[in-house]
């Protein structure tokens, strides 16, 4: 039983962690909670599965194109939606609505292109599972953990150890000051959105190789990513990773011992309790309104 719960936890938790990381990267540079994140994830997953299964493209090429789609969508979101609205008076409020609209539009667009049936790439990994103590550990779970850990490590290196990453950080700490010292604020914001898109593309690959995705599941990923970020706090990207595995462990335990219906109660209860009692999350900083 323990192995089953662990496998379920790491597989789901890795996707939540990647979506949470994508939120984190955008929040750090723009302060925007990008609710469309789940939409990029699902769009990427469906693109990969559709190209490989329906159009018979090579799997590696399909995954690459799916990730590219997520990168382009995220960068375009900043250029065409977030930036034009945020710069208007009262734009902070409107941008939330616009991102919800974008999530809805992405879902409908994915349903229109790829159809309304769930699509998956799970068949390409068939026969490559591992047996541990009589329990099957799917290769997709191992890929999920490796992709999640590698993404967090690379994102951390990018933000803290590269000159471009430091410029991104500078924009997040104060766009005006960053601009006065010559940081190209606009380009750094687009870059942060694109990197966030890359992460959601990888999350899409994990989803596609696992249980698959349906066009309307973007909202669910967006909500899980949000709760993961709230739990982990905005201080460190690694907080989102811990938050994701805590959430998915609780989800697996609730599903195993109680009933699947309690998962959504758990998610709401967790978010409400955290935001009421500990709004700064596990690791950090301010989430209160100024």
């Amino acid at each position: 039983m323990l192995i089953l719960v662990t496998v379920s936890t790491v597989q789901a938790g890795s996707v939540y962690a990647l979506v949470g990381l994508a939120y984190y990267l955008v929040v750090q540079v723009s302060g925007t909670m990008n609710f469309a994140t789940g939409g990029y994830t699902v769009f990427a997953a469906l693109t990969m599965a559709y190209l490989a299964q329906v159009k018979s493209l090579p799997v590696a090429l399909s995954i690459a194109l799916g990730v590219l789609a997520a990168v382009v969508l995220a960068a375009l979101s900043e250029l065409l939606v977030v930036k034009p609205i945020e710069t208007r008076p009262g734009g902070d409020r409107t941008v939330i609505i616009a991102l919800v609209a974008l999530l809805f539009a992405l879902s409908q667009f994915a349903g229109w292109i790829y159809g309304q049936q769930p699509l998956s790439l799970a068949s390409v990994l068939g026969g490559h599972d591992y047996q541990v103590g009589g329990t099957t550990i799917p290769l997709s779970a191992i890929i999920a953990v490796v992709v999640a850990l590698a993404s967090f490590a690379l994102a951390s290196l990018f933000v803290h150890r590269t000159p471009v990453g430091r410029m991104v950080q500078a924009v997040g700490e104060g766009a005006f000051v960053a601009a006065t010292i010559g940081v190209p604020v606009g380009r750094m914001r687009v870059l942060a959105f694109a990197v966030s898109g890359l992460v959601t593309g990888l999350a899409g690959a994990v989803v596609a190789l696992g249980s698959g995705a349906s066009f309307d599941s973007g909202l669910s990923y967006s909500l899980y990513g949000f709760v993961v970020l709230v739990l982990g706090g905005l201080g460190s990207a690694w907080g989102a990773l811990v938050g994701a595995y805590v959430i998915s462990l609780l989800q697996a335990l609730v599903g195993f011992y109680l009933d699947a219906q309690y998962e959504s109660y758990l998610l709401f209860g967790f978010a409400a309790l955290l935001l009421t009692l500990r709004p700064q999350g596990i690791f950090t900083t301010r989430t209160r309104a100024t």
Binding site: I85, A98, W112, L219, L275, T276
Partner: protein, 349 residues
């Protein structure tokens, strides 16, 4: 020297005489209710010819009530609560349960739904009152999702996934109402509500709501109890949305958990934004567009919803004041340009 009479020193007004100016004001104040009532009558006349049209109107009325709730809470007060499917469901189940459990007239569900929805919205608001609206949006969306799960699983109360069916038609003054008669009453109620919201927007409370939305710190500094005004808006919005649920139950004579999915919130959230903040009459306009795009426009599965979603983004980007706001701005620009041309012609002579 005797003092002149007050009337003779007061400004005469644009028409030169105070009684004419007052008459003009009264005339202007009647334009909105008269035109909107005319629109209601025309719509009801159009739907009277077919049951299908009445069903379109039912959906439009339901979306309009929920949209009117969002107009009060979000457009006027800036509080982005997204649990509107829950408030909609509370009204619907309250109307069904008073019939099946208490054997009362289903109308008794209306005040119960209003009170329970408002109370629930206020509790959610209090949970996140110290946080930015972004968190209110996300937490209420999580609540919305959990509430749908509850509706589908609390079989003993809600009937679970199969819901509650076999409800009798609504009776009013001892007479069973047909769908069209129900639509007449619902439209009149919606008309009164939208008129009241329009008046509220210009009244003191409406101005306070808009002030605390735009400049919350300044509003608090001048002594406006913003926590109270926000609660009024959030509770009032939920109460209005619950009316949609009641109308839905009266019309269908059943309640299904699947009718209250989170997608309803996502769709109806944009209804008041299409019309714009300038007037609540944008709400039924937005609702009509949604019904037409999602059901009336038969151009393939889901295509109408895609067009709607893209349309919303276009409105948010290019016409942030909504359709009515943009039309008014264009009209103002047009009349200013005409006035400038007239002045230029006169000076040329």
């Amino acid at each position: 020297m005797p003092l002149p009479k007050l009337a003779s020193v007061s400004p005469p007004g644009r028409l030169g005489r105070p009684d004419q100016a007052a008459a003009l004001r009264i005339g202007r104040s009647l334009v909105e209710p008269v035109l909107s009532l005319l629109a209601v009558v025309l719509i009801l006349a159009w739907t009277s010819q077919s049951l299908l049209r009445d069903n379109y109107l039912l959906l439009g009325v339901v979306y309009s009530f929920i949209g009117a709730g969002i107009y009060l809470s979000y457009v006027l007060a800036g509080e982005l609560s997204l649990a509107y499917n829950a408030y909609f469901a509370i009204g619907a189940y309250a109307s069904a349960l008073v019939d099946t459990r208490l054997h009362w007239n289903q109308l008794a569900g209306l005040p119960i739904g209003i009170v329970v929805s408002a109370a629930m919205a206020i509790v959610l608001h209090l949970l996140t009152r110290r946080l930015s609206e972004l968190y209110l949006a996300a937490v209420t969306l999580l609540f919305a999702q959990a509430f749908v799960t509850f509706l589908a699983n609390a079989t003993s109360l809600t009937g679970g996934a199969v819901g509650i069916s076999g409800l009798p038609p609504l009776t009013l003054f001892g007479q069973e109402l047909s769908l069209h008669q129900l639509m007449i009453y619902s439209c009149v109620l919606l008309w009164i509500l939208l008129l009241a919201l329009g008046r509220l927007r210009g009244a003191l409370l409406g101005q306070l709501l808009r002030l605390q939305r735009e400049v919350p710190q300044a509003a608090e500094a001048v002594g406006i109890p913003t926590s109270v005004t926000k609660m009024i808006a959030v509770g009032g919005g939920a109460a209005i949305a619950s009316i949609a649920g009641c109308v839905y139950t009266y019309a269908n004579q059943f309640v299904l958990a699947g009718s209250f999915s989170v997608q309803i919130v996502i769709i109806v959230l944009f209804v008041p934004l299409l019309g714009g903040a300038l007037t609540p009459w944008g709400v039924p306009l937005g609702a009509g567009i949604v019904v037409w795009l999602t059901i009336g426009l038969s151009i393939g599965s889901g295509t109408g919803q895609l067009i709607f979603a893209v349309g919303i983004l276009v409105v948010l980007l290019l016409a942030p004041r909504g359709i009515f706001g943009t039309l008014r701005a264009l009209a103002t620009q047009g009349s200013s340009a005409a006035a400038r041309r007239l002045r230029a012609r006169r000076s040329a002579r």
